[in-house]
């Protein structure tokens, strides 16, 4: 049970980090002149 929860938690965390970083990169690309 613990391994399954860790697996899902880490996967969702990876996605969260990636999407947040992608949002920042996108904003930076729009703001820079």
């Amino acid at each position: 049970m613990t391994y399954a929860i860790i697996a899902y938690a880490l996967s969702l965390l990876l996605w969260l980090i990636y999407l947040l970083a992608l949002g920042r990169r996108l904003r930076a690309a729009h703001d820079r002149r």
């Binding site: 399954a4 697996a7 899902y8 990876l14 996605w15 992608l22 949002g23 729009h30």
Partner: protein, 234 residues
């Protein structure tokens, strides 16, 4: 070319994101409620994220392969953007596979890692496409797009090997085919749909980044051109 994509695109993307979030929540709910496997217990539920992520990884790198061919034959920037966007999102999926795999292996095979055919070939796949990202981001020259396209095409050769590895080599721990109970298969198929929509949503977002960068590069080019023209007039 504006820095942001057209309005219809932005509006459509919002709906894709809502759909993706809803499907992932529904998928997690289904996973929580899925029947518990008799021998492995709850750990078997890792399969509902591991397998869909692996399938979407192959799909994403397949898109990079096709976009690579399209870029080399047309030389249009959008194909390069599509290839790069799909490759990066595919690498996130591949990383999910690499995270969930050892956790499954620890329970099922009593080891975190073993040099089993599919594990080995998938690790090679991950390294190749991580290399793609590093090489692409380090290139500044005009050949960046061509080199990326070639990498996308050449590295794709490993995909059929990953797929067929369990048949070609002995000692495979991954099953060649699995017969699942219908209520478990349903959860797996729904997971595939949910993560596929996540792929589409993330791909769209990543493609928008390429779009903004292309627009910026063109702006800079136009500014440089007009400055040159002004200097000549003087």
């Amino acid at each position: 070319m504006t820095r942001d994509v057209p309005l219809w695109w932005r509006n459509g993307a919002r709906w894709v994101w809502i759909l993706a979030a809803a499907l992932v929540v529904a998928s997690l709910w289904m996973v929580a409620r899925a029947p518990i496997e008799r021998i492995m217990g709850p750990v078997q539920k890792i399969v509902y994220i591991h397998v869909p992520s692996a399938i979407v990884t192959l799909l994403a790198f397949g898109v990079t392969f096709a976009a690579g061919i399209a870029y080399l034959s047309t030389k249009q920037w959008i194909w390069d953007a599509i290839g790069a966007a799909s490759c990066e999102v595919g690498l996130v999926f591949a990383s999910v596979v690499m995270i969930t795999g050892p956790l499954w292996a620890r329970s099922a095979w009593n080891t975190w890692w073993t040099w089993e055919p599919r594990l080995t070939t998938f690790l090679i796949l991950w390294i190749l496409y991580a290399g793609y990202q590093i090489i692409r981001s380090s290139l500044k020259s005009a050949s960046k797009r061509t080199i990326s396209a070639i990498m996308g095409i050449v590295f794709f050769a490993n995909l059929p090997i990953v797929w067929k590895s369990v048949e070609w080599w002995r000692g495979a721990l991954h099953p060649k085919n699995v017969t699942m109970a219908p209520d478990m298969r349903q959860v797996l198929l729904f997971g595939m749909l949910a993560w596929f929509v996540v792929y589409v949503a993330a791909f769209e977002r990543r493609l928008r980044l390429e779009w903004a960068r292309e627009a910026r590069a063109r702006e800079a080019h136009a500014t440089a051109d007009s400055a040159l023209l002004e200097a000549r007039v003087r």
